[in-house]
């Protein structure tokens, strides 16, 4: 469903990403790994439209999306999280999920002002969807807390729930396990797999935590210094000499 072909991104004299190709098929978890500064997040930013790639093609469901504005790409059904959690911290947990559903809610202003039955119905539905996902990620009890008061691991899960209420086809997670303890990582591991199994969402993952990546990925792409190094199943990557030299060996 997502095909990235020979993506390049140049910042002035620095070629941050050079000819990287990634593809994600339906019902698949694909990881991008690589040492710090390898250009993984830059690839993410290009795919999600925060950067305009300087070369290459990005196809989503067969449609070229490179250079499109970020919000349009998100509306196509690929939503991302961030390396550093980005919640609306002054809003409550449930409001964070309501904001994410603004597209399903944003009828004309008049309907909202007059509280038409249709508007009420939509609002009720979005609250129900929010409740469902809060329950799903185990945050129902904190629904009315300010999001900024949640523990770090909870914030991570809320960010994923916030993506899921938009009903995406592809979920892009940027280092979701960063800053989590082993128990929380394990929970996250199960959550990601269940998103794929139960909701038929494909996942594109950037991660440092090797056990997480090796455990859940269907395929892995390795990037080093902006260039593709290897790609294949976790087994193949584990045995690839280049990868071991560049990345696993050092770690």
């Amino acid at each position: 469903m997502l095909e990235v072909q020979n993506l390049s991104m140049r910042f002035g004299g620095l070629l941050a990403v050079d000819q990287v190709s990634v593809d994600v098929r339906e019902h698949e978890i694909v990881s991008i790994i690589g040492p710090n500064g390898a250009g993984k997040t830059t690839v993410f930013n290009c795919i999600s439209g925060f950067y305009k790639p300087t070369g290459g093609k990005i196809l989503f469901q067969g449609q070229e999306i490179q250079g499109k504005p970020d919000y349009k790409i998100s509306r196509l059904g690929m939503v991302r999280t961030f390396q550093h959690v980005r919640l609306f911290s002054k809003m409550t947990v449930v409001e964070n999920l309501l904001v994410a559903q603004h597209r399903h809610l944003n009828t004309n202003l008049l309907a909202g002002l007059l509280k038409t039955p249709d508007y009420r119905e939509r609002e009720k539905k979005s609250l129900e969807r929010a409740r469902y996902w809060l329950d799903r990620v185990g945050l129902l009890e904190m629904a009315n807390w300010e999001a900024g008061n949640l523990a770090y691991g909870q914030q991570r899960r809320l960010e994923i729930a916030r993506c899921m209420v938009t009903e995406p086809q592809l979920l892009m997670l940027d280092e979701p396990a960063a800053g989590l303890n082993p128990a929380e990582t394990k929970e996250l591991d199960q959550l990601i797999v269940s998103l794929k199994e139960d909701y038929n969402v494909s996942v594109l993952l950037i991660e440092h935590d090797m056990s997480l990546v090796m455990g859940i990925s269907d395929r892995i792409n390795v990037i080093n210094q902006g260039r593709p190094l290897a790609s294949g199943t976790p087994e193949e990557i584990r045995q690839n000499d280049d990868v071991i030299k560049a990345y696993l060996g050092e770690a």
Partner: protein, 423 residues
């Protein structure tokens, strides 16, 4: 520590002299046809010197003086109370609104005509401030040219009535919609800017509109303004002594009461009151709607909001347009109240005052903004006795306010949507 204080105190004292001496001491005096500069009198020199000494002493012992202030027990009885629950707060806000609206309804019948006139002005400022509150307080866009939309509303009514004889009631929605359209069109190119840049560009827009009104003499009459703007009518009843337009009847004759100039003033006041309440309720509703959440989300974290499919331009534009709409409302009422408008009424100072109201009241807080609008409009009137120093007092009050309560009179507390237990 002491040495540092001494140096700082000396510096402050010298600055005081440098600023105060030319302003207070030097006078321009006309001598025949030429102008001569006259030096300071002895009394002024002594006063400036005393002021410098006072500044010097205050800065020298600043720490201990402020320390004494700190020891004064907290005068605010509310300070030690914990936060109140949302339901209680909403109830209190509702009681406040009802009380102030009731008071506003009785007001014109118990006070003088001048006070009613002033109250109308207060209501106009409340409308303006509530509108700007959407742009600055909720959406977080610093708009320094808000007065432009106020001017659009006022001039729309003035021009329509002058050229087409359109009445207040028809001009009211037209003025507001045209102001909103201006907000939309002007907002489109500038809203990709942020922070300081946006502030400067909006400042420019405000000035462009004013200068345009000033120079397009054939249409707007330029600096001479437009006069003879009609008063609003009540179902075709006019409030003048004699009926101006054919087919209308006059208010006092219909009801068989003696003519009084006060009727018109009170009627206009009541219109302003209805519109201000309308503004309040509509914006309050917006705050709880998806569009209100989108404003706040974009203000809190633009990148996250965009990643969730929110169009930055559309969301900001909606705030800008809605803010402009209510400024247009206020402008139409203002034109009708004054009966005469000129570009003089729409200078940058107006934008600054409206912004000051929003900031003083507490950005995003409706109760705070209403209180601040009342205070900022009435205080200069009360301070009239101090004549030329009243703006100085006004300025000092603002500085002190920002030092002691930078978050505003009543800082914004969000109205949160709660997920109820499933029943």
């Amino acid at each position: 520590m002491a040495a540092h204080n001494l140096k700082h105190a000396l510096f402050c004292a010298i600055i005081t002299i440098i600023i105060a001496y030319p302003i207070l001491g030097l006078n321009l005096v006309a001598q025949g046809t030429s102008v001569a500069l006259e030096g300071a009198t002895t009394a002024t020199v002594i006063n400036v010197f005393l002021a410098a000494v006072a500044v010097f002493l205050f800065q020298l012992f600043r720490d201990s003086i402020m320390g004494v202030f700190g020891k004064v027990p907290n005068l605010n009885p509310m300070a030690k109370r914990g936060p109140i629950s949302q339901e209680r707060r909403l109830l209190m806000e509702r009681v406040f609104f009802v009380a102030i609206i009731l008071l506003a309804l009785v007001w014109p019948f118990i006070v003088s005509r001048g006070a009613v006139d002033l109250a109308t002005l207060v209501l106009i400022y409340i409308m303006l401030a509530l509108g700007l509150n959407v742009v600055v307080g909720l959406a977080g866009l610093l708009d320094l040219g808000y007065v432009a939309f106020y001017a659009v509303g006022a001039y729309t009514f003035a021009l329509l009535s002058q050229y087409f004889g359109i009445s207040f009631w028809l001009a009211l929605p037209i003025g507001a919609l045209l102001a909103a359209l201006f907000g939309f069109v002007l907002g489109f190119p500038v809203l990709r800017l942020r922070g300081d840049y946006l502030a400067i560009v909006t400042l420019g827009f405000g000035e462009i509109i004013r200068i345009l009104l000033n120079n397009w003499t054939t249409l707007t009459g330029g600096p001479n303004g437009i006069g003879g703007i009609p008063d609003p009518t009540l179902f075709g009843m006019e409030f003048g002594r004699r009926v101006k337009e054919e087919g209308n009847v006059s208010f006092h004759e219909t009801f068989g009461i003696a003519y009084s100039g006060e009727h018109k003033v009170i009627f206009l006041y009541l219109i302003a009151l209805v519109l201000a309440v309308f503004t309040l309720l509509v914006i309050r509703r917006f705050m709880r709607m998806p569009v209100g959440r989108a404003w706040e989300a974009l203000r809190e974290d633009e990148i996250a909001a965009r990643s969730l499919g929110m169009s930055r331009t559309a969301v900001k534009l909606s705030a800008f347009t809605i803010g402009a709409f209510f400024a247009g409302f206020a402008g139409t009422v203002f034109a009708s109240k004054q009966g005469f408008i000129s570009p003089e009424s729409f200078v940058f100072l107006e934008s600054a005052i409206i912004l000051a109201i929003v900031v003083l009241g507490g950005m995003g807080s409706q109760v705070g903004v209403i209180l601040a609008a009342i205070a900022v409009t009435i205080l200069p009137e009360l301070a009239r006795e101090f004549s030329e120093y009243r703006m100085l007092i006004f300025g000092a009050a603002m500085v002190l306010m920002m030092v002691w309560r930078p978050q505003g009179l009543l800082p914004m507390r969000r109205i949160q949507i709660e997920l109820k237990e499933q029943g």
